[in-house]
Symmetry: C2
């Protein structure tokens, strides 16, 4: 019941590392996360869940095996469950991710790019 207001811009200002999702809020068993992205991630999929990207700033390419999806600010794209994808941010991007609690950023591949979900600093 201690729900309170979270401001997305303030959250972004508190984040210094790339590819480290931070929790903005939770709705039931889903998390809404904010993340800064720069460079290329790793190819992976989430066999058990869809994953929603909402670009706040910058230009994000979601590389799919058969096409590239270029997302500009205010664009939303859902990677369907099981679909291999690899995010690519030539310059810095900030984005919101929505997915079930426990969804790991590297999906089915794991490895050194895996990041625990971070909490925003108070």
């Amino acid at each position: 019941m201690a729900s309170d207001i979270v401001n997305i811009q303030s959250a972004l200002e508190s984040i210094s590392e790339f590819w480290q999702p931070h929790r903005l809020a939770s709705i039931n068993d889903y998390d809404v996360k904010v993340v800064k992205l720069k460079g290329e991630f790793v190819w992976h999929s989430h066999p058990e869940t869809d994953e929603l990207f909402l670009v706040l700033s910058g230009e994000l390419t979601i590389q799919l095996r058969d096409r590239d999806v270029l997302l500009l600010p205010n664009d939303i794209f859902v990677v369907p469950r099981g679909v291999e994808h690899c995010p690519l941010a030539i310059a810095e991007v900030s984005a919101i991710l929505i997915e079930p609690k426990g969804t790991v950023n590297t999906g089915d591949v794991g490895g050194e790019r895996t990041s625990e979900l971070r909490e925003l600093a108070d």
Copy 2:
């Protein structure tokens, strides 16, 4: 698999009515909706789910029984399940809502302000 890009601003420009949530995207069994708000809604709660508000523009007051929560652009607030609330927009507000599919805007009270979830025009 026909997932494609949805732009929030384009979606907003296609909406003329207030209090009519339109689906932007779905993730598994959740919907991400966009809505324009103006005036006061009705007091209601959602006994079975939390409800997330993300304000895109304008100033939205979420009236709770024990306090008012004032949301500015880029603010996120989650109304916990079962908590009575009544949104109030003195001037026009645009906002994103996230909640499970089938969640009705008027929650447990129903009535004439109930709106079916709308789809964006192609």
